[in-house]
Structures are given as structure tokens and as C-alpha cells.
């Protein structure tokens, strides 16, 4: 006789059906950490190295192997991006039920949105932003677009390390050599080969996705620049008054037309770094008064020393015994 299953039992069975069977692997299941688009992420024990790692396992039913290929492609892309700002991949393979998986470093941090709730100073937030830019610029230099940059895909570790995660929608637009850091020509604007997906499917997250990506048009690195602009907006939204120069940077990064945006992540990062250092940014023309004010602020120590010297000399002259 068929048994009655409560709603909670159905939920548990759904979850159970998704648990990976790790028989025949060197990993032991500990618990589930989360669910992404293609698969679940589990905390597992690596019995060979006696350490905990994260395992991403395909959840989707994959009749023709498309999604499996995509998961393994994601693993290979990340494996090639050896950078302190990108979570390293250690291993990949197939489970006994045919589902693919890959193993990555277990990042025990917080998602960006959670982390910044405890970071009040705009300057501290911008330093995090620059670390994100570093990782994305590195990926671009290796010919990889992320295509789903958003606060939920950035982790901040307990020691302040910033990691760009979830490269599931990433796209290799150029095969670069290991040591190549030059600007890949394939990443340049209007490359006809560069499509969001083979079928023009829209992938990404609304609100953080560039307009051309939303439309399913061809995208290049400027789509990631747009998403970084949206992250910059997210990071500065709590600030009581966002300086005009920073607003201009954000607007430039999020320009509707990609040809009006920063053309590279490095350009965007340079402007944000300049802003942090009290230098003018390229996208905000300053009048002589503002420039003078900025010069004074930047050189205030020297100016104060000079002033102190002048005052001291004046006092000496004034009180000199006659």
C-alpha cells in the first residue's frame, strides 16, 4: 500500500535525492552549504588530506550531458585562474550516479552583502571593491568573462580575503597562455564571436546585469564593468552622502551604452584608487576651486608645516628684542 508523505517528508526526500553518493571517492559528506544554479555545494571531508573542502555537485537532470559539460567547464576555467581573489579548484570527477562534481577550497567567510553590514567606512568598502576588481581584471586578462558579478557572488573571508565566486556563467572568450597578461584582443568590443550563450539565452542577475546582456546581445568585458558599477553602487548606497566624483565613476561604469563605459576593469579600478588617494578621477572634470581644495587636502601636512614655520618666523620677528 502506498504510504502518505507529509509536505516536510517530501522536502526531506527532495534534499536526500540531491545528496551526492560519495562511495568510491576519497570524500565524506558532512552537510549542505547551499544551492546554486547548476548544483548544490556540500561541505565534505577529504579523507586523504584530512581537511574539509567544498564539493559542487550537479543537481540538474542532465539527459544530454549539456549541464555536466558546463559544470566541468566551470571547474576548468576556475582551475586556470590561479589568483588570490579566486577560489582554487583542487579536483573534479564523476560520482557513481554519473553526476559530475568538483572540489574547491572551503571558504568560511561571509557573502559581501552580509560582510559590509559591519563595514561602515566608505574607504574600507572601496578597498574591498578594488580587490574584486583585481580578481575580475585578472580573469579578463586570461580571456574569461564572469557574467554574473553581484554581491552574492563575492565572499569575504575571516582574514579579510576577498574571493570572487560562482563562475558558473563565465565564458572563455580567448585562450590565453599561462603568462600572458596583455589585453586580449578577443575581449575587445564588438567581437562577433562573443555571445552570451549559443542560443542567445539570457543568463545573469537582473539589477547587476548589463543592458546588452539582458537583451541577450553580444557581451564583452564591459558587461562585467557594468556589474562592477552596480556593486560599487551597492557598496556606496549606505553612505550618507556619496561624493560626486565617486557617483560619476559609478555612472560611467553603468552607462547604458557599453561604448560609453570604462573600457576595462583596470580603468575603473584606477579611478576608484585615485578617488581613495584623493586624486582626481578621469570621469569627473573639476573646476580650479575644487582642484585647489583637493591639492590642499592632499598636501595638508606640508601646508600645515609650512604654515607653522611661517607663523613661528613671524612670531620671532615680532618678539625679537630690539
Amino acid at each position: 500500500m502506498m504510504r502518505f508523505l507529509s509536505d516536510s517528508a517530501i522536502e526531506r526526500l527532495r534534499e536526500a535525492a540531491d545528496f551526492p553518493d560519495l562511495t568510491g571517492t576519497r570524500y565524506e559528506l558532512i552537510d549542505k552549504l547551499g544551492q546554486g544554479g547548476m548544483g548544490g555545494v556540500f561541505r565534505v571531508q577529504d579523507t586523504a588530506l584530512d581537511r574539509q573542502v567544498a564539493m559542487k555537485v550537479m543537481s540538474l537532470v542532465d539527459s544530454d550531458g549539456t549541464w555536466s559539460a558546463r559544470l566541468l567547464r566551470e571547474a576548468r576555467i576556475i582551475a586556470k585562474l590561479e589568483h588570490p581573489g579566486i577560489v582554487p579548484v583542487h579536483d573534479s570527477g564523476l560520482l557513481s550516479d554519473g553526476r559530475p562534481y568538483y572540489i574547491m577550497k572551503l571558504v568560511q567567510g561571509k557573502r559581501l552583502e552580509e560582510h559590509v553590514s559591519n563595514v561602515a567606512a566608505l574607504s574600507d568598502r572601496l578597498r574591498i571593491f578594488l580587490r574584486i576588481c583585481d580578481a575580475v581584471a585578472f580573469a579578463h586578462a586570461r580571456g574569461v568573462l564572469h557574467r554574473d558579478l553581484k554581491p552574492g557572488n563575492v565572499m569575504v573571508g575571516p582574514f579579510g580575503e576577498v574571493l570572487v565566486m560562482d563562475w558558473g556563467l563565465s565564458k572563455v572568450v580567448a585562450e590565453k597562455t599561462e603568462n600572458s597578461v596583455s589585453q586580449p584582443s578577443e575581449l575587445s568590443p564588438a567581437n562577433p564571436r562573443d555571445r552570451t550563450t549559443a542560443h542567445g539565452t539570457v543568463l545573469g542577475t537582473p539589477g547587476f546585469m548589463a543592458p546588452e546582456q539582458t537583451r541577450g546581445d553580444s557581451v564583452d568585458q564591459r558587461a562585467d564593468v557594468y556589474s562592477l558599477g552596480a556593486i560599487l553602487q551597492f557598496l556606496s548606497v549606505d553612505s550618507s552622502s556619496v561624493p560626486r566624483a565617486l557617483t560619476a565613476v559609478r555612472k560611467q561604469a553603468m552607462a547604458e551604452d557599453s561604448s560609453h563605459r570604462y573600457q576595462t576593469v583596470l580603468n575603473l579600478a584606477t579611478d576608484v584608487a585615485h578617488f581613495l588617494d584623493g586624486l582626481p578621477v578621469s570621469v569627473y572634470p573639476e573646476g580650479p576651486l575644487i582642484r585647489a581644495g583637493r591639492w590642499i587636502v592632499r598636501n595638508r601636512v606640508w601646508i600645515l608645516l609650512l604654515l607653522a614655520y611661517v607663523i613661528a618666523r613671524a612670531l620671532l620677528i615680532f618678539f625679537r628684542p630690539r
Binding site: M2, S8, E11, E15, A16, V61, S63, S68
Partner: protein, 248 residues
Amino acid sequence: MADDTQIGGARQHFPTTRWSIIERTRSAQAEERQRALDMLISAYWKPVYKYIRLHWGKGNEEAKDLTQEFFSRLVERSLLDRFEPSRARLRTYLRVCVDGLVMNEDKAAQRLKRGGQVTLLPLDFETAEGELKELPIATAYNPEELFSREFARSLFSLALERLSGECSANGKTVHFRLLELYDIEEGGRQLTYDDVARRFGIKTTDVTNYLALARKEFRRIVLDELRTMTTSEEEFRREAQLLLGVKL
């Protein structure tokens, strides 16, 4: 082929030539046709009955009549012959057919007059009625969600029944008991593997392995059942995502 029991083999690639349930209900062989219809009825009769009771607010007796009427038409192939897989998924088509049947219930007298032409199916309505009392009282739901939820409940129950049978046949009753304990019974997951190992007289590592195997087999059977109940690869994938709670 050794892979036949693994739904297309270890890589889960399903053979595209496998007959869908609809094709089987249209088979020239009476036995094949009957098997397919039995499978459809076993998976859908409870969702249909509960849907008529909950969504249409019909009473117990009226819902029984309508359910019988619906599946009689199904058996007589008048409903399935009109189904076009390219236009809708089977589950949605069946639900819309139920809607049509209920909306035309003013022809109830005509239905009752059919007498001997109606094939009365041995459906356990008392159990289904009892299950309705176990369901949480929904304040708002949409018909598709309600029907999907009940279909998932029905399919999972069928899969568990099949898993139970397979485990018994292969001397793996402990495997199935562990699945029941952790994934079906309330509060089971609060038990530690050590506690469970002591209770069943097995090693703690066996608990991990047995449970993993039972879960893997459950997944396999669910997908196998679902494969049978769908009519195309695309529908199968979409239904699997819905059934296993995986979103794209």
C-alpha cells in the same frame, strides 16, 4: 545492456528511443497498452481526486464520481488520443482535462446514466480522503501548484514502494529502513549515526554508506518513474527540476 537498469547508464544519458507513456498507451499490443494505463492511473489518481476535492471544492462522493469518470475516459483513450506532446506537458494537459470535466459537471446525470459503460477502477478513495485531512490548510494556492504538489507526493510514494520492494528482494532492508528513518519520519535527522548504528547493530560507517546508497537508488527510481510519465526529453528535464526542487 547492463546500463538498462541505470536509466541510460552511469552518465544518466537516457535513450531517446525509449517509448513514452503516451506512445505506450497507443500501442497495438493490448498488454502494453494496459500496463501504460495502469502506470498513469497509479501516479495520477490521487492528485486528480485531491485536486477535485481541494481546488473545485467538491464533496467526497462527487469527487469520487468525477475521478472515476476521468479515468474511465482515460482508459477509453478518448482523452489521451487528443494529447499533443508538442503543445503541453502531460501533467498540465491532464489537469486541464480535469478542469474541463468538472466544469461540465452539469452533465452529471448523463454521466450516471452511462451505467455499464463506465469502467469502475479499484481506487482506494478512503485512503485518499484520509490523506486530505493530513494536508496543511492552504490559504491560497494556484491550481498548477496544487496539482504539481500532489503529483510529486504520488510519484515519491510510488518510488518508495518500488525501492522498498527492490531493497527487500536484494537483502537490503536496513538500507531502506535508514532512508525511512532519516528522510521520511519526523525527527529522524536528530539522531546521530552512532545512535542509529547501535540500534541496527551495524558500524557507523555502514550507516553513511547504506544511507547514501538508498538515497542514490531513490533518486534513480524517481527519475525512472518520471521518465516513464513524460513524453519528451524537454518535458522530462523540466518535470525533474520541478520534482526535485532544482531551479535553473
